[in-house]
Symmetry: C2
């Protein structure tokens, strides 16, 4: 589950050890559901979710000033931008097959989840359901520990001042974690719109499009036929 090797071909290549038993349990208890691309996955705080197949996209939305708990941030962020369909949503990352996620709703932000690809299957349970599987519970906690480490690296990328550095760091981290092998190197097996990338790195769709062109012309990224993003193997001479 902690492998960052991009060699894995199958979307279920990082299973929990007791995965099959969990899947059976979830089916028996009607705790599993399959979503189409960009369907919103209904989630509640306090529950644990597991991606069985496909990929989940986490986004953060600011609570608007009209809701019950208006925040300082929301007050300042009323301006929207026409470049982006969901100007207040930030892309926060993927949850791949075999990985857990959970939603918190405190503070000025709410986190939502969407199926990022068709046939994304998610199952869910209460934390106390894990009492039946102490070993599995430990794996879930190890997965959160790993996710925490990855987010530290991501925050490191986000602190860079130049947007092009944030962009390349962002793509590098995603492909390092989820990339699969192709002829030209490693590629992210899912598409991301330039608006989604912009929302992750604090930039706009237009700027992302321009900088992606720049990275392509420097040979630092390659765009595959189906619009997937590929990183060439890093060159030890440079």
């Amino acid at each position: 589950m902690f492998s960052v090797s991009p060699e894995s071909e199958s979307s279920t290549s990082r299973p929990f050890l007791t995965w099959q038993r969990i899947i059976d349990w979830a089916q028996d208890h009607y705790r599993t559901r399959t979503f189409n691309k960009d369907d919103k996955i209904p989630v509640r705080p306090g529950l644990l979710y597991l991606v069985q197949r496909g990929s989940v996209r986490l986004v953060s939305a600011q609570i608007s000033a009209s809701t019950k708990t208006p925040s300082l941030v929301a007050r300042l962020s009323a301006n929207t931008d026409p470049d982006n369909l969901s100007p207040d949503e930030s892309f926060l990352g993927f949850v791949g097959a075999g990985q857990p996620f959970e939603i918190v709703s405190q503070s000025p932000f709410t986190i939502s989840s969407y199926a990022h690809v068709d046939k994304t299957t998610v199952l869910w349970m209460y934390w106390h359901d894990l009492d039946n599987w102490p070993h599995f519970r430990r794996e879930v906690m190890e997965a959160f520990r790993y996710q925490n480490q990855r987010k530290l690296l991501w925050l490191g990328t986000m602190g860079q001042r130049r947007t092009i550095d944030r962009l390349l760091g962002f793509l590098t981290l995603l492909i390092e974690e989820y990339g699969e092998v192709c002829e030209q190197g490693y590629y992210l097996p899912w598409t991301l719109t330039h608006a989604q990338i912009g929302s992750a790195i604090g930039s706009t769709r237009v700027t992302v499009t321009r900088l992606m062109g720049k990275l392509r012309s420097k040979g630092l990224i390659i765009t595959l036929d189906d619009n997937l993003i590929c990183l060439p193997p890093s060159n030890p001479d440079s």
Copy 2:
């Protein structure tokens, strides 16, 4: 340990349940050390660190192109900026008393830790040392789970396009987690330089100074006598 209540006055107010036994064990085994403000804390991947007292500052540094594993990102990021003493370091957050941390060193970034205040005491152990304290192990893992949740919110803040939104979101999250009560609201009990704040939100010292002035003039933040940052209680009417 998961309380976000800013009521706690003492720096050791969020102890692990078995905290005293751990401290005794660390002293018996010479696994504890106290640092002065801004001392670098030597850390190695694979070990678990616990903050007994004070506060630890995590920063991310890009591996320069001259090291063994040059990265794509490092190649693009050779430019430095005179505004910032450590232009390649990003502030990644605090680890408060009672909280664990660990260091990963894969990918283009390395993470380092510094004592953020004088008399910061850190103890360390191997993960297998935790086999002696299964309950404590569980608390450590819960702490990482919590940290992961906080980082999701932080990433949500970082995705905002306007620097002033990132700045206010950043301060709000920090004070929500570490803030203490004062007459004017809640304040962050440690100083942060404008360069450090800039490194966290992908901006410059100069811009942070300007935007802090703007937030102050709008009454959204207050600067206390000793240069500590304070947020007034949020106003439910706005």
